[in-house]
Symmetry: C2
Subunit: 302 residues, 2 copies
């Protein structure tokens, strides 16, 4: 109960990131403290002030001053904030997978990395752009999702969700088909172009062709680039991409969650009648045992 907490503290975002940013403003000995904290946040949580000071080879007050330097009122609060962040375990930058890791370690690291990245993506998401995209999607007579490779998976997933809300929409993961579809679209229709790097040339071709026809193009991408420049609206889903070979691409997970957000927000715009139809369908799907094709044909309620 009492969901809203007005006395909630000003969200300082990721503390570790804040430390990184304000590192320059810190005094030399305070930086030694920062090093220790960044190196092993999880351990600092279990440290006492004296221990932390000893670990950084500085005196206790220096540690306190470090806390104040990064905008925290004291050491206790630092530990609390650190505990919040270390909910995901070790900080993301350190969860590089080593070839000799045990399955349990691999699991921990990947989940950790995924959680941290999603958290990061959430913070970096621009609310204004998001709202704009929702408006466009809610008003579109027709929606097409397009992407290649991993982004193709996102497109297919989006296609599975949006029709539920009464929006005719499709998805394509083939260049030729994408091009042909683009040519059948009308002004006012929305094309959602998905590409993590935003440089996939074949997709850019399709986007250009669509825009020439007056189609509204929404880019769902991981960074500013050719795609975001070519689109009418660019929704940037920023993820932490470290370059380790074994670290799986998190980008599609983040994109999927964003698609969840979009589809849900669009659904909320729908009149109550359609919402009811959706609930009905969901009940039907839940009870469905036959698991028919994905074409979405309405099965009888069990």
């Amino acid at each position: 109960m009492s969901g809203g907490d007005p006395s909630a503290p000003p969200r300082p975002g990721n503390v570790l990131q804040a430390i990184h940013e304000r590192m320059a403003d810190l005094r030399p000995s305070e930086r030694k403290v920062a090093q220790v904290v960044l190196a092993n946040p999880g351990r600092v949580v279990r440290m006492t002030l004296a221990e932390a000071a000893q670990a950084a080879t500085v005196s206790e007050p220096t540690v306190i001053r470090f806390c104040e330097g990064i905008g925290l009122p004291g050491f206790q609060h630092l530990k609390l904030e650190l505990a919040r962040n270390s909910a995901f375990g070790v900080s993301a930058t350190h969860s590089v997978i080593a070839p000799d890791d045990a399955p349990q370690q691999v699991t921990d690291k990947i989940f950790e990395y995924t959680l941290t990245s999603l958290d990061h993506a959430r913070r970096r998401l621009d609310p204004a752009t998001l709202a704009q995209v929702i408006d466009l999607l809610a008003a579109a007579p027709r929606i097409e999702f397009m992407g290649m490779g991993a982004s193709g998976i996102v497109a297919l997933d989006a296609q599975q969700k949006f029709p539920l809300f009464g929006r005719p929409c499709g998805a394509s993961i083939d260049h030729h088909q994408q091009y042909m579809l683009a040519m059948t679209m009308e002004p006012g229709d929305v094309l959602v172009a998905i590409s993590h790097r935003g440089e996939t040339r074949s997709l850019l071709q399709v986007v250009e062709a669509a825009r020439a026809r007056g189609v509204t193009v929404i880019a769902l991408t991981g960074q500013t680039g050719s795609l975001s420049a070519a689109a009418d609206v660019a929704l940037i889903v920023e993820t932490l991409d470290n370059t380790n070979v074994f670290t799986p691409t998190i980008s599609r997970i983040a994109a999927l969650v964003v698609v969840d957000v979009l589809s849900t927000a669009v659904a909320l715009r729908m009149p109550a009648a359609k919402t009811e139809r959706l609930a009905q369908m969901k009940r039907a799907l839940t009870c469905m045992r036959t698991g028919g094709s994905q074409s979405g044909d309405e099965a009888a309620v069990c």
Copy 2:
């Protein structure tokens, strides 16, 4: 640095859940403390021992005894654990999406819910089963992924990852095709059957047919059920599924992350030569600008 932390505490999982479970063993006045903590964990974090005692209308030592009762050594540790859990803001049960939510609220709630659910899935994942699945996949001459609907997306995603590690594998989201594929599989081959509820009848048919042929069947499902019973090994990916119509299904996200874990773990088993080939391919994909079809044809390194 110092990735392994041998002095890590015994993972108490979700503290709030632990409190719920041990509620019966608690003394009457300690339960009053539990009420306060469960009602507003985020606020208790910022409380002092005296304040917490006052809020529960008990004395300080009672609060301490409460901490000991739930397996924590003291009040400080309780606050720390509470901070860990409130990392995602409000607890998951409260993030039910209301029809009049603003886009920003929808975003927050969905991300929050996703993060909490993933965290939950991680804790509930059985390491032994996971290790067993990895062994099976690493040894399999051939792997097929099958699923319907949302689980079909997971199957397609898995298919995109595993071939990179030199494993011939396929994915199918069509019942007829699945059945035919099952009939072409040989003893020792692995069929990964994906279904969140684990009751999709058409998939169960395929599983039975495959097992009759001596194929090893791995179930990737959200709960124990018909599928987990029918399979050789059942990997349960437990998610928090509240039944709100607008709450998107988290199951596929969790399943995707588990697929990440599996593919990465299998990749680590590969000899260095193949690992090198993978790195090479990833470099090529990164530089690829043409974004050819998803068939995985090797593009020249740019």
